[in-house]
Amino acid sequence: MARGPRTYTRPVEVAVPYVLVVVALIAGAIAAPGFLSSNHLSSMGQTAAYVGIIAIGQTLVLLLGGIDLSVPYTINLAAVLLAGFEADGMSSTRNVVTVLAIGLGIGLVNGLGVALLDINPLVMTLGMNSILQGVSLIYTHGSPVGQAPMGVTTVSTGWWNGHIPWVDVLWIALTVAITLVLGFTTFGRAIYAVGSNRRASELGGMPVRRTMIVAYALSGLAAALGGLLLVGYSGQAYLGMGDEFLLPAIAVVVIGGTSIFGGKGSYLQTVAGALLITVIESILVTVNVDEAGQDIMYGAIILAMAYVGQVAISGTGLRAGALGARLGPLRGWLQPVPSREEVAAAPDLAERPGDSSS
């Protein structure tokens, strides 16, 4: 098997979101002078890193065909716990490790529920989110105390060589690690296999349940890490600080082109998704679009990228309606005709009936 990584993703699918990032950067440069200044670039890089790191877990879980809705309060609990432990005056290293371990444990419980008890991931993580919200409230009695430890603040807001934010260095390291894990390890391949077809993976002797448990555990860990970074960013913890990351964590994965049905995508695409959404939001802020306009643009971008990704390029929407047919030439250019094996593996690619009946 010395064939190099199998990411199950065509290069064009990874390239498209990055091309769009470049286009967005150029658009930003036209809209505002100084958009490409190193200060502004690194501040955008910083913003993208938080959501990008949080989305690591969501990428793994979505690749499995699952979903993790417990991200907001895993973030929040990690944040209030870290600040609270600091206020109790314990060693910072120990606190960070403890909080990350708690995040891992939360993910582990999610994974056990989903994999062993066969609880629908949406419900399991939704319930978990509610439980964690309660735990956060009870721990803080409604008003979190404490501050971020020095080290975490440095990683979160500090600069390496005065130009590159430490958090981006961390993000790049994690990106390399996750990409290697997904592409080269049995665990990574198992994620794609389980996401593509769980039953076939079981029959093929793959450790399906173990893969799922580990993926959810890593999702909890990533969210907890995000919580630490956010508390480092804002200096202290507050309740509800994770809420605004629920939808973006899913959105950046989808904008990158990873399928929510599992088995298709990569973390590199999520990175592009995080960069793209950050650059576009930054442009909107630069040209004085208010929060309402940003929300609307945000939704429109998700819709557009989902349409481009699902229908025009990846071809899962081959049976699409008029608009898809019009993009036919483009699709043929970008996508090889499905081979006989591919059709055999997914019969609905070839013969699923359309909806234009009656």
Binding site: E291, G293, Q294, D295, I302
Partner: protein
Amino acid sequence: MSAHRDSWQKRRLPRWAVPFAWQRAYTAAALVVALFMVYLIKNGSFGTIEALGITNAALPLALAAAGETFVILTNGIDLSIGSVITLSNVSCAVMAAHGHGSLAVVAALAIGAGAGLANGLIVSYLRIAPLIATLATSSIYVGIALIVLPTPGGSVPVWLSSWTSSEIGAFPVAAIWLAVALVVGWLLLRRTPFGVNLQALGGSESAAWSAGINVTRTRIGVYVASGLCSGLAGVVLAGLTQSGDPTIGAVYLLDGIAAVVVGGTSLAGGVGTIAGSILGAIALSLVSSVLLVSGLSTNYQYIVTGLIVIGALLVHSLQGKLGLRSARREPVAAEGAAG
């Protein structure tokens, strides 16, 4: 029918337990009764004020959950219910503040249905997965709501608040609306072609298509129904709070889905009832009241809710095993035959 009964007898399920294996909504009903008993015991009395508090909290959630049930029954999901509630709520309050009372209500409902229609069209014609499509439109609707009303404000006509939050005799109006929603939901799901079609669609899309059901039209209709229900919830909230608030809907998204799950609707589609979701919503609204009268901090509310949601799903899967695979699909067939 007889085949099912035979297999039960083989498993020696006690007679009283049979309906519980059939109807997942009974779990939600049992939960409501249990929570209510605890409430009665702890509180000692139950008067109009208590009833008002519980039903007023439950009504908007029940409406949102009922709408979500339609979508989940077709194996989809609508993540925009919270935003549609917000949009309808602020539209109603702003128009009413400009002196168009009843027009505001009609317009808010139309806006809800229109938002649902947009969801349905996107899901059906652009072929974007419902989770993503409604996630995106959710953001768009919140944006529009913020344009309509950036900060809480507006007002509603007096009759609207008396229609939602007053009582007739000792009976809260909201309880009557809950009963109406229950009956209308049941009729729509079990006694109309639309209801039967949408359940068929949730059971198996290709089978529904083969049976000549207009899958596209049914799916669009489902999202319109969800939007309309959320619109109604927004109007009810406007009546209850007597104003509009551009952040009011956010909590109803996850709570609405939780109520549907507690009510026994399967996220895989095809199995579920509106009544279950409404009972689930009442149960979830009861949790905080029960904690309050028990002298526990309402901070525990979230933990209890989370445990109830996960626990309910486990009970439902147990029910599914007891009721056997064939029984899972049964409610459609049996109701169809009875009708």
